[in-house]
C-alpha cells in the first residue's frame, strides 16, 4: 500500500528526513514512532502530496506520487497533527465540507456524519461554530471528519493528542473496527506507546530523520532485549530530551494545540 525508497527532505540545508525506506502492506496497521522533531510529520506531509520530497521515491496504492497525484489523493484519508478545522463554520458544516469534497454521495454522507458526530458526542452541538469548542472537542471533530469517507489508506498523525483516556480507547476501537471490517490500511504516529503496543502490527522507529529500527513488536523487543515497547523505544532513541531548537518549536506547537 505504501512503498518508500530513499526518501529525503531538506529545509535550507537542515535534513528533516534522511534517506528513509520502508513499506506498508495492504490491511496492515503500521506505527511510525519517534521523539519530537524526528521527522514523522514531515514524512506524512510528503506521503500525502503536501510537500515535495528533496529526493526519493514514494508509491501509494501502486501509484507513483510525483506522477499520479490525483489517483494518490483518491486513495487516502488523513487526520492531521496540527489544527485543520474552519473555525468560522459549524461542526456540521466542517463535516459536510469534507464529505462533499471527497465525493461521498449525499445519503451516505448524511448517515455517516450523523453516526460519527454521535460517536464523538458532538451531535448536540453540531450547529455551533467550531471556534467556541474546547481543544478536545475540536480534536474529536477532526477525528470524526477524517472518517467520513472510507479510504483504502488512513494516515493518523497523533490522532489522540490531547484526548482523555476514555475517548482514546473509544476511537482506537473504531479505527481497529475499520481495519478489520474494510481492510483499511492504517499508518499512524503517537507518543502514547501503549496505543502502538496494542494496535500496531508493524512498527518503525525514526530519530533525527533516520529510521533506526523496524519490525514487529516482538522483533523490536528481542532486538533490544527489553520487554515493553516503551523500554525498547528508550533504549533505541536514548533518554536525552529533544530540546534543540526544533524540539522546542514542536513543543510550542503542541502546547498551542492543547490550549486552543
Amino acid at each position: 500500500m505504501i512503498e518508500v525508497k530513499n526518501l529525503t527532505k531538506k529545509f535550507n540545508g537542515f535534513t528533516a528526513v534522511d534517506n528513509v525506506s520502508f513499506s506498508v502492506e495492504k490491511g496492515e496497521i503500521f506505527a511510525f514512532l519517534g521523539p519530537n522533531g524526528a521527522g514523522k510529520t514531515t514524512t506524512i506531509r510528503m506521503l500525502t502530496t503536501l510537500l515535495k520530497p528533496t529526493s526519493g521515491l514514494i508509491k501509494i496504492n501502486g501509484f507513483e506520487i510525483s506522477k499520479k497525484q490525483d489517483e494518490v489523493r483518491k486513495s487516502f484519508g488523513i487526520i492531521f497533527q496540527d489544527p485543520s478545522l474552519d473555525d468560522e463554520l459549524t461542526a456540521y458544516e466542517n463535516m459536510e465540507f469534507h464529505g462533499v469534497i471527497y465525493g461521498v454521495p449525499k445519503k451516505l454522507r448524511r448517515e455517516r456524519i450523523e453516526d460519527l458526530l454521535k460517536f464523538v458526542e458532538l451531535w448536540d452541538r453540531k450547529d455551533e461554530l467550531v471556534k467556541r469548542f474546547s481543544g478536545g472537542m475540536k480534536r474529536r471533530l477532526e477525528v470524526a471528519r477524517g472518517l467520513i469517507h472510507h479510504p483504502k489508506l488512513l494516515f493518523l498523525d497523533e490522532p489522540t493528542l490531547g484526548l482523555d483516556p476514555q475517548t482514546r480507547n473509544h476511537i482506537w476501537n473504531y479505527i481497529k473496527g475499520l481495519n478489520e471490517k474494510e481492510g483499511m490500511t492504517i499508518f499512524f504516529t503517537t507518543h502514547y506507546l501503549a496505543e502502538a503496543e496494542k494496535a500496531a502490527q508493524k512498527i518503525a522507529i525514526i530519530d533525527h530523520g533516520k529510521i533506526i529500527s523496524q519490525g514487529t513488536l516482538q522483533e523490536l523487543k528481542e532486538k533490544t532485549k527489553t520487554d515493553s515497547l516503551e523500554e525498547a523505544f528508550l533504549s533505541l532513541t536514548g533518554t536525552t530530551l529533544r530540546d534543540e531548537e526544533a524540539g522546542t518549536l514542536d513543543h510550542m506547537r503542541m502546547h498551542h494545540r492543547l490550549r486552543r
Binding site: R45, L51, S84, D87, L89
Partner: protein, 248 residues
C-alpha cells in the same frame, strides 16, 4: 462540480456571517462617498465637471470591489495559518477546481459588496441614468471581482503569512485604486500618470461602470469589456499555476 459549489458556499458563509467584516467593509466606501463626495463636490462643480457624486459613485463601487476581492482572495493565507488549507489540498479534487471555487466565491462576495455600495451611494444622492443598463453594470462588477480575486489568490500563493500585507496594500492595492480614474477624470492628466492609468486594469473597470451607470465611458464599453476579460483570464491562469505549487 460539487467541490466548486461547497468552496463557493464556504466563502459566502464566512463573509456574511461576520458582522464586523461586513460593517468594516462598508464603512470605508461610505466614508469616501460622504467625505470626498461632499468635500470636493463644490470645487468639481465650479470647475465645470457637473455633479461630483454622479462621477464619484462608480469609482467608489469599483474601490469596494477591489478591496473585497483582493482580501477574499488573500484569505488563503489565513487558511494556511489556521491549517484549513491542508484539508482542502489533500482532497481528491483537481487544483483547478479548488482555484475555481475560491475565485467564484470571492468574486460573488465582492460583487454583492459592490451592489450594496451601489445602493448606499443612492442614499448619498447618486442616480443611475439608465435603469436598463443596470444588469450590464452588475456584469462589469462581476468581472472586476473575478479579476481582483484571482490577483489576491496569486499574491497569497506566494506569501507565507500576513507580514507582507502592508507592503501589498501600499505598493499594489492603493496605487491601483488611486491611479484608476476612480476619483478624478483621466483626461488631461500629466503624461506619466495617464500612461500608468491606461495600463491599470481597474481603470477599465471604473470606466465600464461609469459607462453603464452614468454614460461616461472614455475608453468605450467594448474596450473595457475586452481588456477586463483578457486580464481576468490571464490572472486566473497565473493564479491556478501558483496555487498548484503551494506547499503546506
Amino acid at each position: 462540480m460539487n467541490a466548486i459549489y461547497i468552496l463557493w458556499l464556504r466563502q459566502l458563509k464566512r463573509h456574511f456571517r461576520s458582522r464586523a467584516r461586513m460593517i468594516g467593509s462598508l464603512g470605508q466606501p461610505l466614508l469616501f462617498l460622504v467625505a470626498l463626495g461632499f468635500g470636493f463636490g463644490p470645487i468639481y462643480q465650479r470647475a465645470g465637471g457637473g455633479n461630483y457624486i454622479q462621477f464619484l459613485a462608480p469609482g467608489i463601487i469599483a474601490m469596494s470591489i477591489l478591496f473585497t476581492a483582493v482580501f477574499t482572495g488573500m484569505e488563503i493565507i489565513w487558511d494556511r495559518q489556521f491549517g484549513f488549507l491542508k484539508e482542502t489540498l489533500v482532497a481528491p479534487v483537481s487544483r483547478f477546481h479548488i482555484m475555481a471555487g475560491k475565485t467564484l466565491g470571492g468574486a460573488t462576495v465582492a460583487t454583492l459588496q459592490g451592489i450594496i455600495v451601489f445602493f448606499l451611494s443612492m442614499l448619498a444622492g447618486f442616480r443611475p441614468e439608465y435603469i436598463v443598463m443596470l444588469p450590464l453594470a452588475f456584469l462589469f462588477m462581476f468581472f472586476i471581482s473575478l479579476l481582483f480575486t484571482a490577483l489576491g489568490i496569486s499574491i497569497a500563493s506566494l506569501l507565507e503569512d500576513m507580514q507582507a500585507f502592508p507592503l501589498i496594500m501600499n505598493f499594489i492595492i492603493m496605487p491601483l485604486f488611486f491611479l484608476s480614474g476612480a476619483l478624478f477624470p483621466l483626461q488631461g492628466l500629466p503624461k506619466a500618470i495617464g500612461v500608468v492609468a491606461s495600463v491599470n486594469p481597474l481603470s477599465y473597470g471604473v470606466d465600464g461602470l461609469r459607462g453603464t451607470l452614468v454614460n461616461g465611458a472614455s475608453f468605450g464599453l467594448h474596450v473595457d469589456f475586452m481588456v477586463l476579460g483578457i486580464i481576468t483570464a490571464i490572472l486566473i491562469l497565473i493564479g491556478s499555476y501558483l496555487f498548484s505549487k503551494i506547499e503546506v
